[in-house]
């Protein structure tokens, strides 16, 4: 038996079979093997934090100089916009107050009141060129659970794919394996990542109902169907409609509200009702 283990071919075959089994077992996102795997990446985490902090600072300097020319033009534009906005804010405040009173009378529950948000910094990006997964520095210790939605103040980023004790992997909505049920003009469509569009940071909208009159510029939000994402998180807006040869293979290109290239900090929404056993639910 010992001689068998000295044989190189036998070792190679054994390792190959073991790895194939490992691939099979770990291909399910919630299998415990992945938690063990993610725990192995802990030694890198502190260095990754330092590296991404430095990148942020150094990258910021270049962006500062690049943007100088743009700034003056943008400043003029923004001033004009500000005047417009001030007027709108006054209207909005009035409407918000009205909305609050109406909600109270109807006893409507705030849609996000079931969620607590946990902040996380992006510490590592995906190594290869095929997927759009990134690592954040919040893990099961902080109460993050698989499938929790991940957002920024601008809109939807993705959901938690795998968790580890100190870090977790987030699958962004532009990843090829991601599909989100979305709402456009009160119709439910599917917004998914596409291998041909993800390099430009765009999304593909499928299953557009024939009766839906889709226009460029329509906003897309989550529909709440499917149980992962709560209703009403902004995804992005339609920028192009591509007609197929029949109505059935018509699809649209959606630009996400979040800029995935410059993403630094995200918020994980954790469902309080699902997560009582970790003890973080009461916060």
């Amino acid at each position: 038996m010992l001689r068998l283990f000295r044989n190189k071919f036998f070792l190679l075959a054994l390792l190959t079979i073991l790895l194939l089994v490992l691939i099979g077992v770990s291909s399910r996102a919630d299998s415990p093997v992945n938690t063990v795997g993610n725990s192995l990446s802990i030694p890198w985490a502190p260095f990754q934090k330092v590296a991404s902090f430095l990148e942020d600072k150094i990258g910021g300097i270049f962006v500062y100089f690049e943007d100088m020319k743009e700034l003056k033009r943008e400043n003029d534009e923004l001033r004009a916009k500000l005047d417009e906005m001030e007027k709108e804010t006054r209207d909005l405040n009035r409407l918000r107050e009205e909305n609050r009173i109406l909600r109270e009378t109807l006893n409507l529950k705030d849609q996000f009141s079931d969620y607590i948000s946990i902040g996380g910094n992006i510490i590592a990006k995906d190594v290869g060129n095929w997927f759009n997964i990134f690592t954040i520095d919040a893990g099961t210790k902080d109460g993050v659970a698989i499938d929790s939605p991940v957002i920024t103040n601008k809109g939807l980023v993705g959901s938690i794919y795998q968790t580890g004790p100190l870090s977790s992997k987030v699958i962004s909505i532009i990843d090829v394996d991601s599909a989100v049920s979305a709402l456009v003009n009160n119709y439910i469509v599917i917004v998914r990542g596409d291998i041909n569009l993800k390099d430009q940071g765009l999304l593909r909208m499928d299953r557009i109902p024939v009766e839906l009159d889709l226009k460029v510029g329509d906003t897309v939000e989550t529909s709440g169907v499917g149980g992962i994402f709560p209703k009403g998180i902004l995804i992005g807006k339609v920028i192009e409609i591509r007609e197929g040869d029949t109505d059935l293979n018509r699809y649209a290109v959606v630009e996400p509200a979040v800029d995935f290239q410059r993403l630094r900090e995200v918020f994980v929404l954790v469902d309080k009702t699902k997560n009582t056993e970790t003890g973080n639910g009461e916060k």
Partner: protein, 171 residues
């Protein structure tokens, strides 16, 4: 032997760290190079098939742990690339940088295409030609250029290892 293990560990750790952080900022045409793969190829060419296989396996495993969706895919690919390239190195003049460049180019094609084929194409997520032209070809060129850099560093380590094994043989 101890020095060798330590040197390899530091190399793999640093390369994995760079790969998961800084590399994202030096994308060209939206494509990231793969330093780990270039490292596997250079080690396999300089050090032969045993070290090539072991380093290929460990680098692949680091790649799997640090990112990606499942564990073991890159470990398997890295293992066989290290083994195959390490096995042909005896017939070549290994201290020529062009050999490393050529093999990095070829193995990027194999590594990425096998991965794409099994992980995305078979699941109906794309066609066969698009990734070849838009991802794999630029990446192969990028990797080949970076492999020169890794080769320059590794050949110094290679001479140190050779020297160490020669002195230890005397006693």
């Amino acid at each position: 032997m101890k020095i060798k293990v330590l040197a390899y560990s530091i190399c793999i750790f640093v390369i994995t760290l760079l790969q998961s952080t800084i590399i994202d900022y030096i994308k060209i045409m939206n494509v990231k190079p793969n330093l780990l793969l270039a490292f596997i190829v250079v080690v396999a060419i300089l050090r032969g098939n045993v070290e090539g296989t072991v380093i290929g396996f460990i680098c692949g495993l680091c790649h799997d742990v640090i990112s990606g969706k499942m564990i073991g895919v890159f470990a398997l690919l890295g293992l066989y690339i290290g083994l195959l390239i390490g096995s042909v190195n005896k017939r070549l003049y290994r201290e020529n940088v062009l050999i490393a460049v050529f093999f990095t180019f070829v193995s990027t094609f194999v590594y990425e295409y096998v991965f794409y084929f099994f992980n995305l194409f078979l699941r109906g997520k794309g066609d066969l030609i698009f990734p070849l032209k838009n991802v794999i070809l630029p990446e192969a060129v990028y990797n080949s250029v970076l492999s020169i850099l890794i080769f320059i560093i590794m050949i110094k380590l290679h001479y140190t290892f050779e020297e160490a094994s020669r002195t230890s043989r005397k006693y």
